[in-house]
């Protein structure tokens, strides 16, 4: 069996920095994203400290970070913190990990390609992202301080009228560069999926993960440029004195601040799906893999992905219900938004259908996936509250919104990241992650996560606005302090629990068990080659014979004595012309124990 040391491409070397190999680029995105995840998470801890103990000096790090104010987070620092927390988490942590790392790693491997269609563009994408992170980091250290207009950077606040410093300008540039990187990635992913699929890898044989990335990339290619346009205009307003978003009593015949919101949310709402679609794809595949059953209703799931993608840009107006938009427009956005619940319900039904009567293996990746279904359930359903204009009048801009989108973007998407990392870690690095540490991390995370974001829903229902430096200014918010403190404590547990993951990651990297070729006993193409894969992935371009979830097929069980079938294998051809790979099946007896000797109970297949 090949191992990491046999594979020169995976070793760290200076040349790897400028590699065009999709697997190395994936690792670069992963490293960058995880580093910023840590930074953004640390900022969240500081924000939660302020919410629990307003204007008390931050322990341990306060003196070092906020020396000028005696360790206390000042209102300006707090504003910068929540601005940068959101920006970093969305654009510089989740995007590079989920799309940059997993997209790059999985797409070519799962469709049977040797690399991306445009490897140089791929390298350029990671370097554009690096430039963006450099620019964003620089914005901390310039006169008049870090950006302070919130991650949404609403005009007029984000123009020179509201935020005159260089920091906000650098923020605009950083977001533009980040978007350029995303578009480069999207061009590559779409082209690769269209052009580089292995023979026999028809559209309806693609793993759902790849479908997720395809839809995400389409949205990225179409709507990131709209954000870019917003950034260009904002940049012009800030630097060249144009007046696209500047209006007010002092300016005659000026621009329209609401135009910025249209441009931002025309991107911003698809962005939610840009981040959740890969998560849906991953969880749809993994639930099948670990329930040892084909994904229930594959075609309906694909249809739901496509429907969400098509609808995503038509519903963005629900972010703007309180801007005084015209009634007809508001009502249309409300109804369109509610229609999204149809594909969302379909996904849930299919996930439950996949689990039902399965043979569920509770390995760590599966735990993360089940956690995702749970948190996405709460997160998705609370979205309906905000889609309803009547309820939104009260809930808009409160912590209810914060809790809702964190349950999706921070809980569900993050759990998908953990699921994907633990699942593909063996393929990426040739070693297994620790199961006990993974399970400990999962349970601590899932409990604290739900206390934090569930608590935020309650706080929002009680009426607390977002982005308040000190809620106790309002009398009606003062009784909420104990709940805020509870949320903060849970958040600190959540933060501390992530150290377990970090420890697990590095420990497994150094001394995890060597991964076999196919540790999870599944049939998608990436598991048919060594862990980690050699430089060009496939010795010979594979020929695909069926879909990705051929699990628990009684025919295969009878002929091969195992419950899975590789996509390159065909039941009728697989035996005896090709024997099963020796290592994994024989070496991991427990995996097949439950099916050994099970009576075949065939049911009609389609």
């Amino acid at each position: 069996m090949e191992t990491a040391s046999d594979n020169p491409a995976s070793g760290p070397s200076p040349a790897a920095l400028f590699s065009r190999d999709h697997k190395i680029i994936a690792k670069q995105f992963l490293a960058l994203g995880l580093a910023f995840l840590a930074v953004g998470g640390f900022m969240a801890m500081l924000i939660r400290w302020q919410m629990a103990h307003p204007a008390a000096p931050v322990p341990l790090v306060g003196r070092a970070l906020f020396g000028a104010s005696g360790g206390i987070i000042s209102p300006a620092a707090y504003t910068s913190l929540f601005t940068m927390h959101g920006t970093i988490m969305i654009f510089f942590a989740v995007t590079p990990i989920l799309i940059g790392a997993f997209g790059n790693f999985c797409i070519p491997l799962m469709i049977g390609a040797r690399d991306m269609a445009f490897p140089t563009l791929n390298m350029l994408s990671v370097w554009t992202m690096a430039a963006a992170t450099g620019t964003l980091t620089a914005s901390f250290f310039v006169p008049l301080g870090a950006p302070q207009a919130g991650w949404t950077a609403y005009a007029t606040l984000s123009t020179a009228v509201g935020t005159p410093g260089l920091g906000q300008t650098l923020w605009v540039v950083a977001i533009y560069l980040n978007g350029a990187s995303s578009v480069m990635g999207a061009i590559n992913y779409i082209t690769t999926i269209i052009r580089e699929r292995a023979p026999g890898m028809t559209w309806l044989r693609l793993p759902l993960t790849v479908w997720g990335f395809l839809m995400t990339s389409i949205l990225n290619a179409l709507f990131v440029p709209v954000l870019a346009a917003g950034m260009v205009l904002l940049f012009f307003d800030r630097v060249f004195g144009t007046q696209f978003f500047i209006a007010g009593s002092t300016i005659k015949g000026g621009g329209d601040p609401i135009l910025y919101q249209h441009l931002f949310w025309l991107f911003g709402h698809p962005e939610v799906y840009i981040l959740i679609l890969p998560a849906w794809g991953i969880v749809s595949d993994l639930l099948a893999f670990f329930a040892r059953k084909p994904a229930y209703g594959y075609r309906v799931t694909v249809g739901a992905f496509v429907a969400v993608t098509a609808l995503s840009s038509l519903v963005y107006g629900h972010h703007m219900f309180t801007t005084g938009m015209s009634p007809l427009l508001g009502e249309s956005f409300m109804v369109l938004t509610m229609i999204i619940s149809v594909p969302a319900v379909l996904l849930f039904l299919n996930w439950l259908g996949t689990l039902w009567r399965g043979s569920i293996h509770l390995d760590t990746p599966m735990l993360y996936c089940l956690g995702l279904v749970f948190t996405f359930g709460v997160g998705g359903l609370t979205g309906l509250f905000l889609a309803d204009i009547v309820a939104d009048m009260y809930l808009h801009d409160t912590y209810f919104v914060v809790g809702h989108f964190h349950l999706i973007m921070a809980a569900a998407v993050l759990l998908a990241i953990f699921a994907g990392l633990t699942f593909w870690f063996p393929k990426m690095f040739g070693r297994m992650m620790s199961e006990p540490l993974g399970k400990l991390h999962f349970w601590l995370t899932i409990v604290s996560l739900n206390v934090v974001f569930g608590g935020q829903l309650v706080i929002g229902y009680a009426g607390m606005q977002r982005r308040l430096y000190d809620p106790s200014v309002y009398e009606f918010l003062r009784p909420l302090l104990p709940l805020n403190q509870l949320i903060s404590r849970a958040a600190f547990v959540l933060g501390a629990a992530q150290l377990i993951f970090v420890g697990n990651f590095f420990w497994s990297l150094a001394c995890g068990r060597r991964a076999p070729e196919n540790p999870w006993q599944v049939g998608t193409l990436e598991w048919s080659i060594p862990s980690p894969p050699p430089h060009h992935n496939f010795e010979e371009i594979p020929v695909v014979n069926h879909g990705p979830h051929e699990l628990g097929n009684p025919l295969v069980l009878a002929r091969l004595g195992r419950d899975w079938l590789g996509q390159t294998e065909a039941a009728e051809l697989a035996w005896p012309a090709r024997t099963a790979p020796e290592g994994p099946v024989a070496g991991d007896g427990a995996e097949t124990a439950d099916i050994a000797g099970a009576p075949a109970a065939p049911e009609g297949t389609t």
Binding site: A117, F118, L121, V183, A186, I187, N188, I190, T191, I194, R195, E196, A221, L222, F223, V224, P225, V226, A228, A229, G230, V232, L233, F236, D237, F240, G241, T242, Q243, F244, G253, G254, G255, D256, L259, H262, L263, L266
Partner: protein, 197 residues
Amino acid sequence: MSGEATALGREAAARRGRATATVGMAIFLGAAAMLFAALFFAYAVMRAQAPAWPPAGQAPLPRGALGANTLLLAAASLVLRAALAAARRGDGARARTRAGAALGLGAAFLAAQIVVWRALALGGAGPASGIYGSVFFAISGLHALHVFGGLLALAVIVVARGAPGVARTDRRLALAALYWDFVLAVWLLFFFGVCLR
């Protein structure tokens, strides 16, 4: 394997590569089109909300100069098409010369555009002069950046050398021509939709 088969294989691979590159370029142009569509949307909003258009007291645009510029850009696009035709005939030298000519025309467009901007800015109709200047400078500025990108690509084609250059120049020229057509289309929309109205 016979030499003939290898050549056939190479040609098939080249054809495959060309098609893949075209798909990639098409997606890129789709993305760029969304960028400009958003800018034109901003223009439409600005215009719809203005009491009068062009706003009262607005200095007129130098339509003659802008018209001449339009011709320059159209000429660059046409010459590039001719270069592509030459490359497809296998006439690498002529293809390169024509690409060079297109490069010159494109550069002239940029230079003339800078002259127009300068004149406007000095005449008190710069980007900060109001909503009209905002629209004009933002769209034409971003368009000029795209022209500049196209010039860089052409420069690479003109300067690139090598024996199997023809097939490669052919592919790159085809992509460049597609891109220049896009840049021209955006300009025409801008010229007729913004400058002349």
